[in-house]
Symmetry: C2
Subunit: 427 residues, 2 copies
């Protein structure tokens, strides 16, 4: 048998997984500090839940790229392609939920799409969502949360913020017709990647309409200056409502926050379900153009799942673990080969060494010991290669005298300790 | 659309997920204290990897119950049914691994089988495995680790320990023929569940053979007494080797440990790949007969994956998160509805309340605030239902005076604090 992984899927060695767990810990801590508790839904969902038109939308990659399977009872199932759809399905199914309902969820999602650099068929998302509040404080809270997550990860970044109602209204103002809107939004979403020339090429609108759009997106200045300029335009009621929402969101940001939050009228977000605020995070100090987090308000999806007379507004943000891990490695993070603090080397006294090891572990010290009966040189070489900070030598003599030699693998210094002193030192 | 979950799969509400996360934290801490670092492999594996005869074995449920799927390139894939097979595949594929290689892995596994009480189609396993050591200290280490896990979880339990070589040898000694071995082992594994009568009914051996087996399994006493009795029997060389291994494993246990570790000659473990030590954990104080952890030595599987001239012995143990969570709930654990420590209630001063909330969060206090603009009564009712320990009232007045009313929701007492004192109190 030729051993292979499924295409586009990966193993993460302990060295890589230790880094991923450190990132997840910081993300989780921030989520909980913001009052989001955890939720878990299955990896597998009913296919009809995943393929609902109002979820991913017909034109999105997510729907075409869903892994399909079925169970013994011939039910059609699929692997989830994000964590938003399962969240909406959960909220719609559980009518006894107390609102506002906040939760975070972290886990694998799947897309059976083409493999490119940085795109995989199994990857991790870390989501927070708030259901049951129309108030813009919920949107502002998630933008602040994102800034805090990356401050904790020491990864400089900024957030682009926009509003879908305003974007659509501005596009109409420029002359885009209703049926051209979805395609136009998807193209505009790529403005930063493909540039003005690319957008012009891809859009099949009249040249004057395209030019008007591109000119509008060049409005620059502080958020207040941009708001003022838009207020001069003759946009529709929907757009005015979007503008009010956007101004409201920005009212929660102080001067310090505004250094990292940028109003960007061209931010579009590709997915079909957004209805209000949209936001996306990017690294400040990197050539990378792919986003490290993103989300927005989707006030209709839960209601569509639940059926008539059940409108639950919602807003959410998603962090991509894989792109964040890559960014942190690129920023010079030194990965760790082990979580072990001390490695016990038996000298012809394996059972005694096991007893000392037991004591250290009982005291909560992360301890490993040689379980392969190798010689001292090989064991020291192993501890050195794994970058374990300390090794302890245990022979019959050491045990009789209750004095054990501890070697600091970084400095090379050696000292003798009793079992008790050793625990006190290493804890 | 009628909203449904896939059959045999579940959502875990925040209340349930908080408990699961607490359990996982304790399990992970214990794994790391024993020198096991984390590893991650995909949820999806190549189908030929999962269906290998030497992995789950042809007669096992796992193989029949594998969820199958395929990707765009028509590759045959499947959802993993355990974490041992992916581990063996990983070790076999990565020939630069330094041995002994220890790792833990925690995640979802899938079986498309019949749904019974406590059996699901998606469930969590928490595994530790050691590859590259034939020494029984590796086996003993995992049994000790299991006892530590459940001590930390405050769940009284005991471990049954046996050896596959010895079991097979004893069955042969009783007159079981080679071709009857696998079926006999699977039946014997159910002895505790179906009783002697059930075993007699299910086994198609000669009556005298069955009776001899059942009589042998009635040998009781301390492990030393049982070892002595077996040494009197005329068993084959393989069995003698198994006995030596078992005596070696037990030599690592002190008197205290031996109160929770039981030598059980009838312990069989259903899977085909075990080659030596086998062990299984059960609750001490429960009617439940299903195991809460189990594992053993499988010295051939990695070599079978890797191909000729690559024999890597291995031993592993798996903990079932779902059965453990059920056991902890049954033992009277009180679940928590929230992780939030303080809930901020704005009194016509939402932006000011948001500013105080920001401060508390920056200081690391798990803080939630009303994002739905409800009245005080509704907010207090919410905090009470969610069992949030403290609420804070923030109005324009409070902000001017920098004095905020903190209410202890358990005692009902109210006190005024400045923002700084509040942080000091809650941290």
């Amino acid at each position: 048998m030729e051993l292979q992984l499924p295409k586009g899927m990966r193993d993460f060695s302990p060295e890589e997984k230790i880094l991923r767990d450190e990132i997840l810990k910081k993300i989780t801590e921030t989520f909980e500090t913001y009052g989001f508790p955890p939720l878990e839904t299955p990896i597998v969902e009913r296919y009809d839940v995943l393929s609902a038109k109002f979820a991913a939308g017909e034109t999105s990659d997510a729907m075409k790229e869903t892994f399909k399977l079925s169970d013994q009872g011939k039910r059609n199932l699929g692997l989830r392609f994000d964590l938003t759809v399962p969240f909406a399905r959960y909220v719609a199914m559980n009518k006894d939920i107390k609102f506002p309902f906040k939760r975070y969820q972290i886990g694998e999602v799947f897309r059976d799409g083409p493999i490119k650099l940085g795109r995989y068929r199994e990857f991790w998302q870390c989501d927070v969502d708030t259901a049951g509040s129309k108030n813009m404080i919920a949107d502002a809270e998630q933008i602040k949360l994102a800034l805090d997550v990356f401050e904790k990860l020491e990864l400089p970044m900024y957030m682009k913020v926009n509003n879908r109602k305003l974007l659509i209204s501005l596009l109409k103002y420029c002359g885009v017709k209703a049926k051209e809107l979805e395609k136009t939004i998807i193209t505009i979403d790529k403005l930063d990647k493909i540039g003005e020339a690319g957008v012009k090429k891809e859009l099949t609108l009249k040249t004057e309409v395209t030019n008007k759009i591109l000119k509008l997106f060049k409005i620059t200045g502080t958020s207040e200056q941009i708001f003022a300029k838009i207020q001069e335009l003759d946009i529709d009621e929907e757009g005015k409502q979007g503008l009010i929402e956007l101004i409201d969101v920005f009212s929660y940001f102080n001067t310090k926050l505004l250094r990292s939050i940028k109003l960007d009228l061209s931010l579009a977000r590709g997915l079909g379900y957004y209805t209000g605020t949209i936001f996306e995070g990017f690294q400040s100090s990197s050539e990378a153009t792919s986003s490290i987090c993103g989300g927005g308000r989707y006030d209709n999806m839960i209601g569509e799942y639940a059926g008539k007379n059940y409108q639950i507004p919602a807003v959410g943000i998603s962090f991509g673990l894989d792109v964040i891990a890559e960014a942190i490695k690129a920023a010079g993070y030194e990965t760790k080969k082990t979580i072990t603090k001390i490695y016990v080397i038996p000298i012809k006294a394996q059972k005694s060494a096991a007893r000392i090891t037991d004591k250290l572990r009982k005291a909560g010290v992360k301890t490993d010991m040689d379980v392969a009966c190798r010689g001292i040189t090989k064991n020291l070489d192993y501890a050195d290669k794994m970058k374990i900070p300390y090794v302890l030598f245990v022979g019959v003599d050491e045990l009789k005298r209750n004095k054990f030699k501890l070697k600091n693998m970084k400095t090379g210094s050696e000292r003798f300790f009793s079992a008790q002193d050793l625990i006190a030192k290493l804890k």
